[in-house]
């Protein structure tokens, strides 16, 4: 029954479901857990967006030499960006834990 389905569409639908649930919890029920689900869904949908972007550029599944190391370079940029983001966030918060 499940054979032949587009698995990426299933993942996309799940991402949208988590986003809707997160928005409903955050803004409908004023529950901070909603914010977490929104963040998860943003990461989730970002991933699906990356997938479609890489597919359309002909780069999906070509990590390493086969793809000219493009996805590896994106990975390195994300890694460095994440570390700089942590440092920037700590500096912005004054290094004393935000509440």
């Amino acid at each position: 029954m499940l054979q032949g389905i587009d698995t990426t569409l299933v993942l996309l639908a799940l991402g949208i479901l988590i986003l809707v649930l997160g928005i409903a919890l955050k803004y409908g029920m004023k529950n901070n857990l909603g914010l977490l689900l929104v963040v998860v869904s943003i990461g989730w949908l970002f991933t699906i967006g990356l997938y479609y972007g890489l597919v359309s550029a002909g780069l999906y599944g070509t990590a390493g030499e086969a793809g000219g190391y493009v996805t590896n370079i994106i990975g390195i940029l994300l890694f460095v960006g994440g570390i700089l983001g942590i440092l920037y966030f700590v500096k912005m918060k004054g290094g004393s834990g935000g509440t």
């Binding site: 499940l2 054979q3 389905i5 698995t7 990426t8 299933v10 993942l11 799940l14 901070n32 857990l33 914010l35 977490l36 963040v39 998860v40 943003i42 990461g43 989730w44 970002f46 991933t47 699906i48 990356l50 997938y51 890489l54 999906y60 599944g61 070509t62 990590a63 390493g64 030499e65 086969a66 793809g67 190391y69 996805t71 590896n72 994106i74 990975g75 390195i76 940029l77 994300l78 890694f79 460095v80 960006g81 994440g82 570390i83 983001g85 942590i86 966030f89 700590v90 918060k93 290094g95 004393s96 834990g97 935000g98 509440t99």
Partner: protein, 281 residues
Amino acid sequence: MGESVEEQKEMGQKIIAIIVAAIVIAFAVYGTWDFATYGFGWSFGAFMLSIAAIVLPIAAILWIIGTIIFFMELVGYTFTFPKFKIVRQKIRWDSMDIAIAGLVAAVYGGGLAATGGFVIIPGATWIRPANALTPVFGVLFGIPGAIGTAIGNFIADSLAGFLGLGSLGGFVGNFILAYVPYKFMKDHSLKTARSWTEFYFWGVLINSIWCSAYISFTLYLLLQMGLLGMPYEVIWGWFFPFVIINNAIVTAFVSGILIYILMPIVKQWGLYWADRIEILE
């Protein structure tokens, strides 16, 4: 006299720490050497496949427990350990926690994708030195770190060309990889012999096995539903043992040192999970 008993106790804990660390490191090094020498003709994989009938029900139990814990933690409940009791916990999920989860996802996902071309099992996994970061994020940042780790693995699956329904298993499996040392280690400081014993047991061995069992059982379920082309023998003889070794070898040598160095800095910055979480009995 009392001091001497205390000294003896301390010495005993140091000996236990050395023995546990030596066993776990030997296991990880042997697995790596075995794979590097014989590839998928390795004896570790053949052994795992030979006991797959025993491993399968254990993996099923770990999968069920892992899934329950994942959703429990998401909705604000946790359990106490070693005395089991379900309690509510209050994580603020303020800008700090959200930023931690997002930035951990970027660092971990990017770190994994950086080595994306070194494929070991096509469609399933690759050499992942960034796995060393998972216990670090769990121990330092707690649940936000574990959530970030889960998202990061998902991003890396897309960049490395492995995105599929199996990524759902990878999502929770990587959460577990960070969660187990966070939850089960009593002393996160790595300044005592007991802390190092706990780290090697929970943060290198058990989390690697649990993560691998979780993802492998997800793949097995997908295979049963006709949604995966990977054969049973590849899941339990290749994928399951390889993911254990792939995690254990880097965490055994790198993660402990990183936690030891970063713990005081993270505490000073006010990011340490224990300073930000509230357990409601």
